[in-house]
């Protein structure tokens, strides 16, 4: 073997991203962590690490490549660097809820749009290495801070301006966004098969979307965009239910309350059923597939099915 052959040209290129979970699991089986990462932060830990590994292979010019972001409410074109700055700027809301510094500095705006714009400006003033390092450091700081604070932080409120959500949900949501934007980046780079998150992580992301559906459905009705009508149901009692059957290793059945966010969805009160592949469901929730175009098995109340699919798409944001 010549000297040149000794350079690790293959380093990191063929590492199976799902190996990380297996290796870490093996380690923790040999010696349990004294300061564990909260279970609900694991998808964020894994997805940010996966995106960082993708970024490690980039050359300088690729950082300025245009990446198109699509959601149900619009589209936006950013540079690759701008996408990372966008992710970091919204993660910054989580960081500040934990008492960490706002990456955009004190007094920065709170909405996703304003934060993304400000982050994009910063991006143009700094090197790509700086932006990547800042993003990565913040992701590690968030995971580390949550670990030290313990699982009790799961209920801590995180104020995203358009919604206040508990920390445990915010971390699942940020993991989902990280994956979706990593897919956007991979696509812009013609990078083959970035692939989905590990099945248990995917399951948490689908679960979060499913839990948000009754509220999204109510908002759809309030905006006059729904076809189905709600029946009056006392809060805490069973109402008409849609059986959301998500197929795949991260899937399962979710019973969606159709009448009000306060009612309970139960298998006994199912009036409609949707069967959909897990990745299609995620693409719908990300606003990458229109509700009318999704391949899904449908059975029962067609207005309710149509509205739940539209409500799923309405979960998508910049």
């Amino acid at each position: 073997m010549g000297a040149v052959g000794l350079l690790h040209q293959d380093e990191s290129l063929d590492l199976d991203p799902l190996l990380r979970a297996r290796v870490l699991e093996g380690c923790l089986g040999r010696r349990p962590a004294r300061i564990p990462v909260p279970e609900w932060a694991a998808p964020y830990d894994a997805e940010t690490a996966r995106l960082d590994a993708l970024l490690a292979d980039l050359g300088e010019p690729e950082w300025d490549m245009p990446v198109k972001l699509i959601w149900a409410g619009g589209t936006r074109e950013l540079t690759l660097c701008g996408v990372l700055a966008h992710l970091g700027s919204v993660d910054g809301v989580v960081a500040t809820a934990l008492g960490l510094d706002d990456p955009l500095g004190p007094g920065a705006p709170r909405t996703r749009l304003e934060r993304t714009e400000l982050a994009g400006e910063r991006c143009r003033r700094h090197t790509h290495a700086f932006v990547r390092n800042k993003w990565r450091t913040q992701t590690r700081d968030i995971v580390r801070t949550l670990s030290f604070a313990g699982s009790a932080t799961g209920g801590l409120p995180v104020d995203f301006a358009d919604a206040v959500v508990p920390m445990r949900d915010a971390l699942i949501d940020r993991a989902f966004e990280c994956w979706i934007h990593a897919e956007d980046i991979a696509q812009a780079l013609d990078y083959p098969e970035y692939g989905p998150p590990a099945a248990p992580h995917l399951n948490r992301m689908i679960d979060l979307a499913a839990r948000m559906l009754p509220t999204a459905l109510a908002a759809l009705r309030q905006a006059g965009l729904a076809e189905s009508t709600a029946k009056l149901v006392r809060a805490g009692t069973p109402g008409r239910t849609l059986d959301l059957h998500v197929e795949g290793s991260g899937g399962g059945h979710w019973y969606i309350s159709l009448d009000s966010p306060g009612a309970i969805g139960t298998p006994e009160a199912v009036v409609a059923e949707i069967a959909v592949d897990q990745l299609d469901f995620c693409q719908l929730a990300a606003g990458h597939i229109a509700p009318g175009r999704i391949a899904a098995g449908r059975d029962g109340d067609s207005a309710a099915i149509r509205d739940v699919l539209h409500a799923t798409a309405s979960l998508s944001r910049l």
């Binding site: 010549g2 000794l6 040209q9 190996l19 093996g26 010696r31 962590a33």
Partner: protein
């Protein structure tokens, strides 16, 4: 072809691992998994075996963070050494099960120790040489492009590459590695 982390990072990482911080384990994996996996893959030439060795090496570090002595060198070179020893151990085991002739196995053992030494040389060589090698062989730039990227003359780029390759070729010199299990 990442540079070694600064010594302070190494010591801090060791402390965090010793404290049982799962987040530190994740960061360690993210920094060194590709090194471990590619070294193991070079020896075993088998995806499953490389993944298995990756599990064993990180398992060992997580269980024995105090086995690393910062005075003996960087965390990276320690991990490369562990990986090489474990790979050689596994390779000899597979030899005992009749996979490959003794000569083939010894060839690969030699190759493994060379690869681990090469990694050590590359990560500890002066930054300008490492950068030049990286641009030329990983990013596949020619002299002119590499010179422009580095902000130096073409002659200087050529000189750095020559020096880098000279250093690297010292890794090919013979050695007698010891296969020892973790």
């Amino acid at each position: 072809m990442a540079a070694s982390a600064p010594p302070r990072w190494d010591r801090k990482m060791q402390q965090r691992l010793a404290r049982g911080e799962e987040a530190a384990l994740g960061e360690l994996y993210d920094r060194y998994a590709s090194l471990v996996h590619s070294l193991a893959h070079r020896v075993m030439d088998d995806e499953e075996a490389a993944a298995q060795i990756t599990r064993e090496v990180f398992g060992y570090i997580w269980e024995n963070p105090d086995a690393y002595d910062p005075k003996q060198g960087s965390l990276r070179s320690w991990i490369a050494g562990l990986t090489q020893r474990q790979s050689v151990h596994r390779l000899r085991q597979s030899e005992n099960r009749g996979a490959g002739s003794p000569e083939q196995v010894e060839d690969r053992v030699r190759e493994a120790s060379t690869a681990a030494r090469a990694d050590y040389i590359v990560t500890s060589m002066p930054e300008p040489l490492r950068q030049a090698l990286d641009l030329a062989y990983r990013r596949r730039m020619d002299y002119r492009e590499a010179a422009a990227d580095l902000g130096v003359t073409e002659d200087e780029a050529r000189r750095r590459l020559r020096l880098g390759l000279q250093l690297l070729s010292t890794a090919v010199q013979d050695s007698s590695p010891q296969g020892r299990s973790l």
